[in-house]
Symmetry: C2
Subunit: 111 residues, 2 copies
Amino acid sequence: MGVTKSALFTAEQNQMAQFAKVLGHPARIAIIQYLLKSNTCINGDLVLELGLAQATISQHLRELKEIGIIQGTIEGASVSYCIHHGRWIEFKEIFSALFDQYEGPDANTCC
Amino acid sequence: MGVTKSALFTAEQNQMAQFAKVLGHPARIAIIQYLLKSNTCINGDLVLELGLAQATISQHLRELKEIGIIQGTIEGASVSYCIHHGRWIEFKEIFSALFDQYEGPDANTCC
DNA sequence: ATATTATATTGCAATATTACGATGATTAAA
DNA sequence: TTTAATCATCGTAATATTGCAATATAATAT
C-alpha cells in the first residue's frame, strides 16, 4: 500500500525514522558535509558541487530544512543555508543514545 | 525519474545514505530497539510487538540484514536475529564522526 | 522600466517503498 | 506421515521518492 503505519509506533520512533530518512540520500549527506566544511552555502554552490539540477538541489534543501537540521536566511537575491545548531545537537544526542545502548554481544543469548 | 544518481557521490556518501535509509522507517527503528533490549528475537516476536503482518516484518528484517546491522541464525523451525557487533560499531563510528565534525555556529559566517 | 541573477514551486515521468495475502520451504510435534 | 509452526518469497496495489524542465517569484543591476 506504500504508506507507513506511523500510528503503530511511538513519537520518538517516528521522529528518529524521519530524521534518518532525510539523511538517507547521498545528495543530502553531501550537502551536510559541504555545510560542515564551509559553514554556509547557497543553492548555486551546491548545483556546481553536486552536479544535480537547481530544482533538485532546492528540493533536497527543503527536506533538510523541514526536519530542522539546516536553516536558510535570505541574503539579498540568494538564500544562505547553514546547520541549525540546536537541532543538530538534539539529533546527535538521540542517535548517540541509540548507538551507546548496545552492550556488545552476549555470549549466552546472542545468535 | 525516481532513481538516485549514485554515480555523482562518493562511496562513503552512498554508504552512509544507504544505512540511514534503512533506519529511516519506524518499524526498523522499533526492531533495533527491541533487539537492544532483548538481545535476540524471532520474526513472530516482532509480529506481536509491532502489529505488522508477518510478511512485512520479514521484509524489514531482510533490509536490516542486507545492510549488515543484524544477523540471523536458523534455530530449529525459527530464525534467531541479533545485532551484528562489528557492523554496529562500524556505523556508530561513521555517524559519530559526522556528528562530531560540527564545531558549532560561527558568528562571522553563519546565517 | 528592463534585464539579470538566484531560488522556489509546479507538473510530470520513472522508479522505489510499504504492506499484505497467498504460497512454498523447512523443522518440530503428534 | 500428517499436522502445526515458523519464516521467506512472490505478486500486487497503493503511495512515496527522485529528478528535471518549465515557470513563478523576488532582489539586484543596468
